[in-house]
């Protein structure tokens, strides 16, 4: 979230799209209720289904699954043609006036630099024109046809209400009604918050859907504002912490990145990431990359990381390609993996194309699962009739199940969607033999290190030299880990302004990442978390909810990253002269000497407005980007592409170019290509989702949750039901090219037939929560049906739009 949960109460308009907050985040949804009850806010829901969120919405509009970029691109077009943008904001705080290179092109759905055989773009033309001084050329009058504003205008002029309605199936009047309501928040004192979740992430163009929405928010001047922002609602209680700590194959903690295979030179690795300002006077905070990186290496390797060995740069793996889970299962499927550790993760249920995942697991020598529950993955080799029809005699994979504690049985911190690191204390002792994940991983590490010590090996140093100085070696405590990621001084730190003054003595906890250095004097396991455990103690454990402004900014409640800031980009809540756009909802302001207010300023504290430093300090341009240059894999402007399984034969935006039907840069593995179904055989659009009553594949183990929603079902609209002679309560079979599931049919008015590009589109809704373990009646794994295709940026699978057929049993 750029903002935070409580801030939603300040919104004038709440847009729930690409998510179903009431269903999946019922507790956080209270802030929407609050906004409606006490701020006269309106709630819009745009979704293929009339959801539980829609049940309490002021306005609902249907949309075809997978067509959100068309919808939002249409909103951009509406705002631009009707001049409903926050002009001053757009001019001052975005790249609208930046000039783009002349060799950047967009032709019939494909951007310049496309390599069809690799399914990849060479992104070098997706760049600004740079002057001799190294800065971007700009045109503040926005008249240059090559400035971002005009390129954007042209790009989205194609997204007319008629075409949008034809692609999305949203009736035109309904689309326009939503546009009107959104446009009202272009006033400087009105804000819209956008709440989204996996309904946007899980598409082959998921990251671009989110970006399109962010562009809408930039046009309206809603980023950095109270009651505004782009608010990703995270699913697991600690999935935010997972991303923050870099548990992704290409990432290091705190959104630092692993070197690529070719990046063997340390200096070049750092220089590429230390981003110099692209406009005069900009902060370009990633200039500090080296400090974050070196402090991380010091936390991991201590004395073994020093200047002379480039702070152990050689210990870091160099990536040949992303090794995300889709890739790993592809490799496993090809027999390239011997073993797999599965920690708090149930891929047989959670991953697309269950058949492929199941086959891949049989090719392993061993599988280790670390989980509090018996997962489908850990029993993939058991025969459960139709639900898991395998022959155990033919499976040789050895499975080790290590029972772990669950969150309520251990102390630790969780990061909420609000970016708040909140400490929690255990509520119960672990059952039976369960051990904490820390203990389990420490145990594995110590044995592994012992083997390296004994037997040597090709390159034992990255394991042997790891700092491991916990009080109990086999059981590091959550407190020790927390202090480690927050960071400490390894040497006395002097005040840069007064070299005789010691700011932090060697061994003391740091106050924040501002104190990190790149000379090896500080250690910090995750720079964005720095300060969470300072010399003042464990700030994550604070529980003071006083809110002096009434805006929901509770700085003494736990600790928000970065720097305990609650609203990111909050400098943008003020006009260029430093006065709040909306004086009634003031977060910070320039007081003549510094930036101050109820929130922690997201800015250089003493940069006077006259210095013309811009609010988006993490970008080297200092401004928010409509044109995202080379930061995305599939284009600098979002474009609508059809899902890989689409009911349409063409992309209505590019009917003559088959190459632009689906995202040209989305990742598809060769042997998955023939696993795409065709609309002739599989005519209905399917989308998977979660229900309030359950949490993923866990709560079917819980009696109360199983009582509330016992049996697997699928939802269809009344028209499709009539065509297929299906009544509510009948049993049906839903089939995709990859397999089938059987379930009870729920026939509902809440799923409408949509008119899309001259044909009727019927949607089949598929809740995911069932499997062959737990207390709820056995069910089929919904991901038996889903395709294995990944977004070009995140490699997230396309769970939200694919094709099926349905029959009554």
């Amino acid at each position: 979230m750029t903002n935070h949960w409580v801030d939603i109460k300040n919104a004038n308009l709440v847009l729930v799209m690409g998510g179903n907050a009431a269903e999946a985040h019922p507790c956080g949804f209270k802030w929407v209720t609050e906004a409606k009850a006490h701020n006269k806010a309106k709630l819009i829901v745009v979704d293929p289904r009339f959801t539980r969120s829609a049940a309490v919405a002021d306005y609902y509009a249907p949309v075809r699954a997978g067509s959100d970029i068309a919808f939002l691109g249409g909103v951009i077009n509406y705002l631009l043609t009707n001049n409903k943008i926050q002009h001053e904001y757009v001019k001052a705080y975005t790249d609208a006036g930046f000039i783009v290179r002349t060799d950047y092109t967009f032709e019939d759905g494909v951007f310049s630099g496309y390599d069809e055989t690799k399914r990849k773009y060479d992104k070098s033309t997706w760049m600004y024109e740079l002057g001799a001084d190294g800065y971007v050329k700009t045109d503040p009058t926005l008249t240059n046809p090559r400035c971002v504003f005009n390129l954007m205008k042209t790009h989205y002029a194609r997204y007319t209400p008629e075409l949008v309605s034809s692609i999305t199936g949203t009736p035109k009047e309904q689309f326009l009604k939503v546009c009107e309501m959104i446009a009202e928040t272009s006033a400087p004192d009105r804000t819209m918050t956008i709440m989204y979740a996996l309904g946007w992430t899980q598409h082959s163009v998921g990251a671009q859907m989110i970006r399109t929405a962010a562009m809408v928010q930039l046009l309206l001047g809603n980023i950095g504002m109270v009651g505004g922002g782009m608010n990703a609602l995270r699913g697991h209680s600690n999935i935010q912490g997972l991303t923050d700590l870099g548990l992704l194959s290409e990432a290091l903690p705190g959104y630092l990145t692993l070197p690529k295979e070719a990046e063997t030179d340390y200096k070049a690795y750092i220089e590429k990431r230390v981003q110099k300002p692209l406009r005069p006077g900009q902060f370009s905070y990633w200039q500090n990359y080296g400090k974050f990186h070196v402090s991380l290496m010091k936390a991991w390797y201590g004395d073994a990381a020093h200047k002379d060995n480039n702070f152990a740069f050689d210990y870091l793996p160099k990536l040949d390609k992303p090794h995300d889970i889709l890739q790993v299962f592809e490799d496993m499927h090809q027999g390239k993996l011997n073993g797999y550790f599965c920690q708090g993760f149930n891929p047989l249920a959670a991953f697309p194309c269950k058949a492929k995942v199941g086959r891949a697991l049989t090719k392993l020598k061993y599988l280790v699962t670390i989980d509090p529950l018996v997962t489908e993955t850990s029993t993939f080799w058991e025969n459960h009739g139709e639900y898991n029809d395998v022959d155990p005699a033919k499976i040789q994979t050895e499975v080790f199940r290590l029972p772990s504690t669950c969150f309520a049985e251990e102390d630790g911190s969780l990061v909420s969607s609000s970016r708040v690191l909140q400490w929690h204390w255990k509520g119960a002792d672990p059952t039976a033999e369960a051990k904490s994940d820390l203990e389990i991983v420490a145990g594995i590490f110590l044995r592994l290190r012992g083997l390296y010590q004994k037997e040597g090996g090709a390159f034992p140093d990255p394991i042997l030299k790891v700092t491991w100085n916990y009080a109990i070696l086999s059981a590091p405590s959550p407190e020790e880990i927390a202090r480690e990621y927050s960071g400490k001084a390894l040497d006395d730190l002097m005040d840069p302004k007064d070299k005789t003054k010691v700011v932090r003595k060697a061994g003391e906890q740091l106050d924040g990442f501002g104190q990190l250095t790149d000379d090896g004097k500080t250690a910090c396991g995750c720079w964005i978390f720095s300060g969470a455990w300072s010399e003042k103690g464990n700030l994550m454990g604070r529980r003071d909810n006083s809110d002096p402004s009434g805006l929901g900014i509770t700085l003494n409640w736990a600790y928000a990253w970065p720097s305990n800031r609650r609203v990111q980009y909050n400098r943008a809540s003020c006009d260029p002269s430093g006065k709040p756009w909306d004086p009634k909802r003031k977060l910070i302001g320039w007081n003549g000497a510094k930036w101050a207010g109820v929130d922690v300023p997201d800015f250089k504290p003493d940069a006077a407005p006259e210095d013309a430093m811009n609010p988006f300090i993490m970008n080297s341009e200092g401004v928010g980007r409509f044109f995202v240059v080379d930061k995305m894999g599939d284009g600098p402007f979002p474009e609508h592409y059809e899902p890989f399984e689409s009911p349409l034969d063409v992309n209505p935006l590019h009917p003559k170019n088959p190459k632009a039907k689906n995202s040209p840069a989305a990742r598809v593995f060769k042997d998955d290509l023939d696993q795409f179904g065709d609309a002739k055989e599989f005519p209905y659009v399917a989308t998977t989702y979660r229900l309030t009553e359950h949490f993923h594949y866990w709560t079917k183990h819980t009696k109360l949750a199983a009582i509330m929603q016992p049996e697997q079902f699928v939802e269809i609209g009344e028209d499709l039901a009539k065509m297929k002679n299906i009544k509510s309560g009948d049993r049906v079979r839903v089939r995709s090219i990859r397999g089938f599931i059987k379930a009870v049919a729920v026939v509902t008015k809440r799923i409408r037939t949509l008119e899309v590009y001259g044909k009727k589109v019927y949607t089949v809704g598929i809740p995911i929560h069932w499997g062959f373990q737990g207390l709820a009646p056995n069910g089929f794994i919904a991901n038996t049906l889903t395709p294995s295709v990944g977004d070009a940026n995140t490699q997230t699978p396309e769970f939200k739009a694919f094709l099926v057929t349905i029959d009554k049993l």
Partner: protein
């Protein structure tokens, strides 16, 4: 649930006068349907607090689960898909359970002394240890609430968490509701809160928004804020004008005293007929405007 800290103002089949010294505030739970997202947290909280576990059932082609109130499910969410205006779908989700009538038909119908009581704060409670399992209360209830248990032949329903309320806590379901669709307090405060909600709903185009506090049963201690107060039936058959059946009134007013003298057999036949056939005129209009429950 027998509790000593609340005064009892009426008891089934009892004529001894009730205590009247202490002044008690009337309480009420307000269910704001316009805020309810149907998350069923209240259902779970009710089971947890009251140590109940219903069966793990099946799906009946609807979101309602368990499908109906039972001896172990004292509250259930009822989902209705309603299209009052063409193209304007509404998904009305009503938390069903005992209404805690000021004039409780169940209590009036009950022949077992002290099996059903009403506390001075308005809560109607069953004291199962006195229940004889005759099921008359089921017939007497205009909301079709009490459920006879197959396990112990006694009747159960929502207690309005009288155990919690008696020690100054709100009911478990209210405490749990994430959206604030459930609120609890003095009946007076709840009416005032409802009025504010109704103003808000009217400003959003629900011209018939209103409070459901039906006078036919003397008002209730569980009230609803309805977006369409003119048509309560669309909320899965919430009765428009619930009344205690005349026969129950008769039974209470005339027959029960006569019965205790061993008379009135003829009239009784009529009542038993009524018991077996049931009063539920509610059900009919209920099905008109709703599909897929």
């Amino acid at each position: 649930m027998a509790l000593q800290s609340l005064d009892i103002t009426s008891r089934s089949a009892t004529t001894t006068p009730s205590p009247g010294v202490r002044q008690t505030q009337k309480v009420a739970k307000l269910i704001d349907i316009s805020k309810c997202i149907g998350c069923k947290a209240c259902q779970v909280a009710c089971m947890e607090w009251n140590d109940l576990r219903d069966e793990i059932g099946t799906n009946h082609g609807v979101y309602d689960n368990p499908l109906d109130l039972t001896d172990k499910s004292w509250t259930v969410m009822r989902f209705s898909e309603v299209e009052l205006e063409k193209g304007k779908l509404e998904w009305l989700i009503r938390k069903d359970g005992c209404m805690h009538c000021a004039d409780p038909g169940c209590l009036k119908a009950c022949p077992a002394p002290g099996a059903i009581v009403q506390y001075s704060n308005g809560i109607v409670d069953f004291h199962e240890e006195h229940c004889i399992g005759c099921g008359y209360c089921i017939t007497g209830c205009p909301f079709n609430i009490p459920r006879l248990s197959k396990k112990d032949d006694k009747v159960y329903k929502c207690t309005l968490c009288s155990d919690r309320v008696s020690v100054g806590m709100e009911p478990a379901c209210v405490k749990t509701c994430p959206t604030g669709a459930l609120v609890f307090g003095s009946k007076e405060d709840m009416i005032q809160h409802a009025e504010e909600r109704i103003v808000d709903l009217k400003s959003r185009g629900y011209n018939n928004a209103g409070l459901y506090d039906p006078p036919g049963v003397g008002g209730t201690h569980v009230m609803y804020v309805l977006q369409h107060a003119d048509q309560p039936q669309i909320y899965n058959g919430l009765p428009k004008d619930p009344q205690i059946s005349l026969l129950v009134e008769l039974w209470k007013g005339v027959l029960k005293p006569i019965m205790s003298l061993g008379l009135g057999l003829v009239a009784l036949t009529g009542f038993f007929h009524y018991v077996t056939v049931g009063p539920n005129e509610v059900k009919e209009d209920a099905n008109e405007n709703q599909h897929g429950r």
